[in-house]
């Protein structure tokens, strides 16, 4: 037995020294997940260009998109949301049961599977993970999600391969909570946690052998300012239909580029193999490329992201902002907001800003979210005369030269601040500026550096109006709680409310909290439809457009099945492979 072990070890070591780790054969009793109807061939390296360098590889600290893009490929979760079907599917938990009262979940874990360093995985790792994430000292961004009804969820070990999760109240779609919560290796991190040093672990410069996870890839090499290389996890717990261990592709390389244009140029020149998201302009450039047959370009239809214009309705008492406070009389006037909404040419935004690769929006749920959209919301076409009627009814009037005046005779003039890094939102603001000019409003567009914009919107409240985008996470309404609850951290138009400022905000609070504890999905849909109706009537956000998700990959990349949910392209990277019959096209 010992002899066989050492032979295996030698084989493994020689494999490591060659190029990438060789997948280990599936051991008897190892409860692997067999991906049905999946076939491909092993080998190759996949190059992806990231917009920026990841800040960390620590799943309990990563908040920036590039870090999460990389960490997502190196870690595994208990219950996963299938990006193609948007339904939950088994991951590290092979199955789960909900108790009759909806407060207890029993999860059966996969037996005999291993972390990427070869160490066995069991219930202790799960219990450890949730203890770390829920500990305030860790400061994990996931912590808020794991607090249900004001109480942190409780995770207890039942036996080596079973855990029980208890919630303080029933929670709709609770199994979706576990998606993307990376299970951490207790054997590597226990010491750091005991010392209270979880914030400092696993930087990008940490040696590869001190990092392990349950994802399809593990760290191989990091070159500061240039690239991060991942190699196959030889113990990954998924196999294809022929019981060959996944992933197919040996190495995953992330290049650091700087911005979207640079990403597109790298993709166009063949330096990278996958383009995670392109603007409509760049998509058109790629489609026009003479050698466009080298790419598979896909328009996945409307994303879940919604872009909107909103006015500053924050409580400004205690802030010395008389200029903004004077204008809040207009911003708080529903007739004013409705007039602005009626005057905006949403079709023009979809056509000019997104080259038609976007849908106009009248509510917070994009048509890309088929399960939850309230299809009965009115889609009011642009009408300047209707808008003028609304303004007149609210007591506004017009000067000889066409300038709009309020009740006190002050000219209506305000600024829209946008992020200077988002050309699209600045373009939207420029179109809206021209639209509102027809109502006699004098609008100025001020692009600001992103951090300065965030500071004004979230801290100083020194702005009149802004254009931002939200959404794009999960399709479920629970992901929107922090936007619509009056106390929510993204309740952008009026932040930091102790009690709801208006009766309709109070009603939204009640509806959102009720849907959270309602287990019947049809009833939840009815409640969330009502929320969408109220939002569309009261217009705290004036919705503009939802852009399509536009992605691309090399023509010979197999099993490339991008999705409208994040991560759009690499969510199934373990199943991707290079088609050998097309490989000759690769340069």
């Amino acid at each position: 037995m010992r002899l066989i072990g050492s032979i295996l070890l030698v084989a493994l070591l020689s494999g490591l020294s060659a190029s990438a780790a060789v997948p280990t054969p599936v051991a008897p009793g190892e409860d692997v997940l067999v991906e049905r109807a999946t076939s491909g061939s092993h080998g190759g390296r996949l190059v992806v260009a990231l917009r920026a360098e990841p800040r960390t590889l620590n799943p309990a600290a990563a908040a920036d998109a590039p870090s999460r893009e990389v960490i997502g490929r190196m870690t595994g979760d208990l219950i996963h949301i299938d990006r193609a079907t948007q339904a939950t599917e088994s991951a590290l938990a092979s199955q789960w049961k909900r108790s009759a009262d909806g407060r207890e979940y029993t999860l059966a874990l996969r037996k005999g599977i291993r972390f990427s360093d070869g160490h066995a995985f069991d219930a202790d790792d799960v219990v450890f993970t949730f203890r770390v994430l829920l500990d305030e000292r860790t400061g994990a961004p996931q912590r808020d999600l794991l607090i249900v009804g004001g109480q942190p969820i409780r995770v207890a070990k039942v036996d080596e391969y079973t855990v029980k999760v208890t919630l303080s109240q029933p929670y709709a779609a609770a199994e979706r909570l576990f998606d993307s919560i990376a299970i951490l290796p207790q054997h590597l991190l226990n010491d750091a946690y005991e010392k209270g040093a979880m914030g400092q672990i696993w930087s990008v410069a940490t040696p590869a052998k001190s990092i392990a996870g349950l994802g399809p890839y593990r760290l191989k090499e990091y070159v500061a300012g240039q690239r991060l290389v991942l190699e196959r996890n030889p113990y990954y717990w998924k196999t294809d239909s022929a019981k060959r261990r996944l992933p197919y592709i040996d190495e995953l390389v992330f290049l650091f580029t700087g911005n979207e244009d640079a990403q597109v140029i790298r993709f166009q020149s063949g330096d990278s193999d996958v383009l995670n998201r392109a603007s409509a302009d760049n998509f058109a450039v790629l489609a026009r490329d003479q050698a466009a047959n080298r790419f598979q370009l896909k328009d996945l239809g409307p994303s879940l992201e919604y872009n909107f214009l909103f006015f500053n309705q924050n409580d400004l008492s205690g802030k010395n902002l008389p200029q903004v406070a004077a204008k809040q009389q207009w911003f708080g006037d529903l007739g004013f907001r409705r007039a602005v909404s009626r005057a905006i040419d949403r079709e023009g935004i979809a056509r000019l800003v997104y080259r038609g690769r976007a849908v106009p929006l009248w509510g917070n749920v994009s048509p890309g979210n088929r399960l939850w959209i309230n299809a009965s919301l009115p889609r009011l076409a642009r009408s300047v005369s209707e808008a003028r009627g609304l303004l007149k009814a609210s007591g506004f009037s017009w000067r000889q030269d066409g300038q709009l005046l309020d009740r006190q005779g002050r000219p209506v003039a305000f600024t829209i601040v946008t992020s200077s890094t988002s050309a699209q939102r600045t373009e939207m603001a420029t179109l809206i500026q021209a639209d509102l000019k027809e109502l006699g409003m004098d609008v100025q567009v001020v692009p600001l550096e992103f951090r300065a914009l965030v500071d004004r919107v979230f801290q100083s409240f020194d702005y009149d109006a802004s254009i931002l985008g939200l959404g794009g996470g999960d399709a479920d309404p629970n992901g929107e709680m922090n936007v619509w609850l009056s106390s929510g951290s993204n309740h952008l138009w009026r932040l930091g409310q102790q009690t709801p400022a208006t009766s309709w905000e109070a009603e939204i609070d009640r509806l959102m909290e009720t849907q959270l504890v309602t287990l019947d999905s049809r009833e939840r849909k009815r409640l969330y439809d009502r929320v969408q109706t109220i939002v569309a009537e009261q217009l705290p956000f004036i919705f503009l457009a939802a852009p399509h998700i536009l992605v691309g990959a090399r023509a010979d990349l197999g099993n490339f099945q991008p999705s409208v949910l994040d991560h759009y392209t690499l969510w199934n990277v373990e199943r991707m492979f290079f088609r050998p019959e097309l490989r000759s096209q690769r340069r």
Binding site: D281, A284, Q323, A434, D464
Partner: protein, 340 residues
Amino acid sequence: MKRVGLIASVLAGLHLLVLLAGFAAPYDPVEQTRTLPFAPPSRLHFVDKDGAFHLRPFVYALTTDPDNFDAYIEDTTLPFPVQLMVAGSTYSVLPGVESRLHLFGVETPARISLLGTDGFGRDVFSRLLHGGRISIGAGLLATLCALLVGLGFGTLAGFFGGRVDSAVMRLADLFMAVPWLYLLFAVRAALPLHLDTRATFLLLVAVLGIVGWARPARLIRGIVLSARERTYVTAARGFGAEAPYLLRRHILPQTLGVVLTQAGLLVPQYILAEVTLSFLGLGVGEPTPSWGAMLGTLQQYSVLTSYWWMFTPAVALVAVAIAYYALTSMVHERMRLVAS
């Protein structure tokens, strides 16, 4: 000498064109035609589809391909001849005086875009002329500021000498060491948002000009210093001439050459500064055109690679800069000849 006249008249013509932008441009520079984003320059035709020749050029209306964002087809059913002296959008000639007369145009629904349109369907030719007002205006204004301050301090230092001289010159050193870009960022950040963007821009240009006084001041100081020691100045002083008389009569006329050449060098430099400011988002806000703001859209890869007519402000910029530099070097040459 002939070439000086030629270049001077080209420059004067350019400035006149820009000054009369409202008349020379066929359209309002901020007017959006949302059905025509990134339309290529209009083609002027002389021969219609039946092969008949027309002395008066004409254009066709464009129809869009609904599936293709920036593909356009000419609708050849009806030609639209180019007309001179047509009524169009209203513009102001002087404050309070408005006009609707444009040098040329075509009847709707056709549009004549000599240099195509931008992403909002705005006429690039009209924006180029109107943008020139801001860009060249900024150059002239900043130059005026720099020269006035420079002349004042330079004369002060050169004429009085001694402690005044060293104080002024150390101050000049300080100003030359100021990283002006960061200074402007700081000024812009400190200004409140609700200030009119045009007022903000004028302020920034003035700051830019005032900061730039040091170099002309040094040169002027040198001239004043040497002029002060000339025998005829000493003689005038001996006859009891006061400082204001000496400066006006004998010294300041000597600085004319330097002032003119400095002006010729500074104007294009400050036009470039405006372009830089607008490129970085510190210029006039949308929708007002300026050359820098127009070139700013080239920061997008798709615009850079797809629409050549978006580069035309750069061509105008280069032409104006070369004309200024050529004129300056000729003026400089001539001044030297006169002086010797």
